[in-house]
Amino acid sequence: MIIATNITKRFGKLIALDNVSASCSKGECVALIGPNGSGKTTLIKSILGMVVPDSGTITFNGQNISNNWQYRSQIGYMPQIGRYPENMTIGQVLDMMSDIRMHEGRRDNDLLNEFDFKSLLDKRMRTLSGGTRQKVSAALAFMFDPEVLILDEPTAGLDPVASEILKQKIIAEKKSGKLILITSHILSELDDLATQVIYMQDGKLVFHKPIEVLKHETGEHKLSRAIASVMVQCQ
């Protein structure tokens, strides 16, 4: 569904992505793992068209994404740090997004209801705590029933209750056959979610394997242990 071929991106001298190729298909839940600054967010942003790669191509459902924008209506994106117009209320942001996306199918309000947003709708974005912002981002990502969900550190800053709600939601969406791309540093969480693992370091894609294969190769039962042993090998 998403195929990236030889993506390279430089920010000045820093090579954020170095000849990265990857392909993800429907029904998978891909965990993007790597140390800080390894290029995970840059890769995600390239898929979203927010960062324009220096070379290489990305296709979405067989279409090249450069100079294309319609494909983004099939993506729900939850950024690492949700930034919203500060003087709009939560309700206004949600309405604006529905207005802009002109979504016609089902509107998925599960997360809105479960996070209990009713009492918060009139609050201005600037008054919100980091966790509540994160909840808004999550609700927006799932709201338009997209085919692909891209979640950048989704549970960072969420309280245990909210992060459990979000996790259950991700599992439910995975079961309904959507492609989910997720980055996280909390590997124990990814254990229940991921079916594939992409490991990145210094802008390079080190490996892309199904999680079972990875566990088998390293002889570990937990993803965190498996990744830890890989990281030691890499260094």
Partner: protein, 255 residues
């Protein structure tokens, strides 16, 4: 695109600066017209306000607005929207707000006190200058990532067009006083929209006689319909060219 423009305009109206700007213009215009018993003299005083204040407010507010909308822009870019449309909507929103503010603040008093060809020319130049400096501000804002640097650059741009440019022109005129520069001055004036606006209005006021031989040459060129048409085309280019380059830059920008 209409939807984004709508959100931009609501957002601009919400922060009340444009509203204060409109009231400021209204107050100044009415004061000037009621102080002078001859309203065409009032027009001359108003001219300087239009040429100095309008570009200043327009360029600084637009730059700060673009920087402050970074979150909004980032949010929009991750949505199924064309980048070109996002950028042009921001421009349309800002340009519309400033045009309306100027039309209410200065246009209405001018039409009330001095509904002559000169009055209409001031209104036209004022509106064009508002939009030109929105376009220039957006170009500066998209070029520099750093907010303080970006705002600094726009202040310098304004200083350049409002003061420094005239200084350079005067300097050149004195240095090359022995050469016939009058015709060349017409070309040079196209390099500064504020100057071009000033010449267009002054010639309508029939004070060009005060400008000596240069004034006569200007009158020869800008007095004709062709001259005026060319000037307006040049002013429009001052909108289109920065807008074109800023859009091109924005389409490729990493957010």
């Amino acid at each position: 695109m209409k939807k984004i423009i709508k959100y931009v305009i609501t957002d601009i109206l919400r922060n009340k600066i444009i509203l204060s700007y409109t009231i400021f213009l209204l107050a100044i215009s009415f004061t000037i017209f009621s102080l002078e018993d001859n309203s065409s003299k009032g027009l001359l005083s108003l001219l300087n306000i239009v040429l100095i204040v309008v570009p200043l407010i327009s360029i600084i507010f637009s730059t700060i607005y673009i920087y402050n909308s970074a979150e909004f822009i980032e949010l929009l870019v991750s949505q199924p929207l064309q980048r070109k449309k996002i950028w042009l909507s921001l421009f349309t929103g800002l340009a519309t707000s400033f045009t309306i503010a100027f039309l209410i603040g200065a246009g209405v008093p001018i039409l009330l006190f001095e509904p002559t060809a000169t009055g209409l020319m001031i209104i036209a130049v004022g509106v064009l200058l508002s939009v030109i400096f929105v376009a220039v501000a957006m170009f500066a804002a998209v070029k520099t990532r750093d907010k303080a640097k970006g705002i600094g650059i726009t202040i310098l741009i304004w200083l350049y067009f409002a003061l420094v440019f005239d200084g350079i022109v005067l300097f050149l005129l004195f240095q090359f006083a022995d050469y016939p520069l009058e015709k060349a001055m017409i070309g040079v004036s196209a390099l500064n929209p504020i100057d071009l606006g000033r010449i267009l209005i002054l010639l309508k006021m029939d004070v060009s006689a005060l400008m000596g031989y240069t004034g006569a040459i200007f009158k020869d060129f800008f007095g004709t319909t062709t001259g005026i048409s060319i000037s307006f085309v040049v002013l429009l280019l001052w909108i289109i060219v920065p807008l074109f380059f800023s859009t091109r830059k924005f389409i490729r920008k990493d957010l």
